[in-house]
Symmetry: C2
Subunit: 419 residues, 2 copies
Amino acid sequence: MARKKNAFYAQSGGVTAVINASACGVIETARAQSDRIGKVYAGRNGIIGALTEDLIDTGRESDATIALLRSTPAGAFGSARFKLKSLEANKREYERLIEVFKAHNIGYFFYNGGGDSADTCYKVSQLSQAMGYPIQAIHVPKTVDNDLPITDCCPGFGSVAKYVAVSALEASFDVRSMAKTSTKVFVLEVMGRHAGWIAAAGGLVQDHGIPVVVLFPEIEFDEARFLARVDELVKAHGYCTVVVSEGCHYPDGRFLAEQGTRDAFGHAQLGGAAPVVADMIKRAHGHKFHWAVADYLQRAARHIASKTDVKQAYELGKAAVQLALKGHNAVMPTIERVSDSPYKYKIGTAPLSEVANVEKFMPRDFITEDGFGITPACRRYLLPLIQGEDYPKYQDGMPVYATLKNVAVAKKLPAFELK
Amino acid sequence: MARKKNAFYAQSGGVTAVINASACGVIETARAQSDRIGKVYAGRNGIIGALTEDLIDTGRESDATIALLRSTPAGAFGSARFKLKSLEANKREYERLIEVFKAHNIGYFFYNGGGDSADTCYKVSQLSQAMGYPIQAIHVPKTVDNDLPITDCCPGFGSVAKYVAVSALEASFDVRSMAKTSTKVFVLEVMGRHAGWIAAAGGLVQDHGIPVVVLFPEIEFDEARFLARVDELVKAHGYCTVVVSEGCHYPDGRFLAEQGTRDAFGHAQLGGAAPVVADMIKRAHGHKFHWAVADYLQRAARHIASKTDVKQAYELGKAAVQLALKGHNAVMPTIERVSDSPYKYKIGTAPLSEVANVEKFMPRDFITEDGFGITPACRRYLLPLIQGEDYPKYQDGMPVYATLKNVAVAKKLPAFELK
């Protein structure tokens, strides 16, 4: 029988409130299978850790610390925005990966990320066939954007949805209190570069009696209709709340606000749609406004994470290890919804060839005909994902979050320069 | 024995996560003293409700609903930004108040607000002497800004401090994860027009290993020194967090960002310091950034309220009623700190003449010598105030917050036009 293989785990792309819960699922499951899996090495800063042989020995962390990852936000091993080029375009990187995997006897590759990362994982999965190195690459889904295909939802999304729904409700109560003499419109900007899932969660406040307008990236922004709708709500209710996705754009593709910089994947770095929208309303109708940009607060908000989301994040990490042990390669465990109410789901599997670089947008029938709200179908989809609270422990008034030792594994290879 | 008097309660100025807990304290205590206090009428939208005889009969709300106020953010009866002019400048308004109080047999005036509102409450308290109408006016302190004098802290502050400390910690974990290839600086803008108490709470993340720079309104902004400090931290730690108060300003008094509008009190309406600071860092050092503006989210965040704060908010509402029944007028119940650790306090009393229009700033010895952080003395002050969690109940994934019926009391007087 072959010497048992070690596993490599890494976190990629924008982090979430529950990506460490997936890490916890991977590591705890691997530890429980120590007769079949050797060490779990984590990549320091995603795939960069593999390329530079900067591996973290997770075995140096106690069971208690690994368990604490379940309630710790962000990426405990460091994440990276770094996309592997194709095998043809950059064979050097793939050869290096194989060298590192060989040097550390790595046979399992667990990559925890979104759509761009699924592409990286898919490319690694092809090393077996293309370059003759036996590796099983399993993608663990993660993205607050909820835009991966096939899986019903993505770990990270349920928690950001809960944060946005709760925050929008609380701020709406605030503006409702102030509207008589002061603020009449509150604008909350949320994430979602291309898909409006997060913004949709803001639409849930309507069930709590709040007049709300949601601006989705899927719906081209129509300033005149938007301003008319806001004014109509302010006249009827005395106030209104606007939830605007950072990805909201004009018909010509121009974002409501663009900072002009681009990230490593070539995506425009967004931010600042809220003040633009608020100012627009002020100019048109004179309504006093307040605006907030949640930015990282929303995706890091482990303190108000969805219990359902935390559970699924853990389960998908666990499922990834189980798939590997069953001999799978180039797949991603998924959430398959069985029923909305009572909410039931099972863990499924999707081939990475069908996941990489595919974005899932809000279906048109999840958005009201006027484009400014969510439909009952969307509510049925969203509500199960925000169910339950999963509070971290607190000490001295603050949540107890894990900071790992992240002890490096001794290097065996010459240095490698990232290009 | 005189016919027992009714009470008037109103909420004023910017609302908080726990102002309704004070309302709960007032109403529950008055209900328990129904042999001495008649009805509790709430002003719809603060003092405006009194002037326009728009009174809410809180007796129409069940005990369970009133109890739910304790865990409901914002102002359940509507707040107002409306400052009474002096008796000499606007006798008409004071005469109207007396008419309304007489018409509804109101002998107790409970006003729940900050510094500007204490001024209103003080003016009402003078009606007894100046205009011969017997009224007992008690101010219930409330302000996220924590800038009232005499009282050790103000209800609303502990919860916003907890929100800011927790959010800054979570977002700092996020930027720490991303720093290798992406964001290196995270900027969080918080409230605090003139006093840096809220920004100071962001400084608590330093105890959790986070490199943080705090920008206070009390310290004139020095761009060169600030940029050098940020770069030093990024070089040492790979990333840093900046917490900037909306009231941070240049030596000439110019705010880092000013929207150019002013509120009813003539204060500049602020917002947008975070993007200004982030852009400044980007231009100087090229560090990729993310920024958030918490705005209403911070002061409405009942979901992460401080248990200590909720308790004190309730107790001060209760104490206000007790002071009234003891015959007091023109006073405010206060928090008197007895010890930091273990945290002990008692309820004291302050004369409104010493509270109205006085702002309490951060003492210089709460801010580090370089002006960018908080001292151990500040930590000792802050930590007791964020202790304990006081979670609302949840139903179907969302917090259960009270929306009152707010049934109007029948009017007895001709209409009154606000000028």
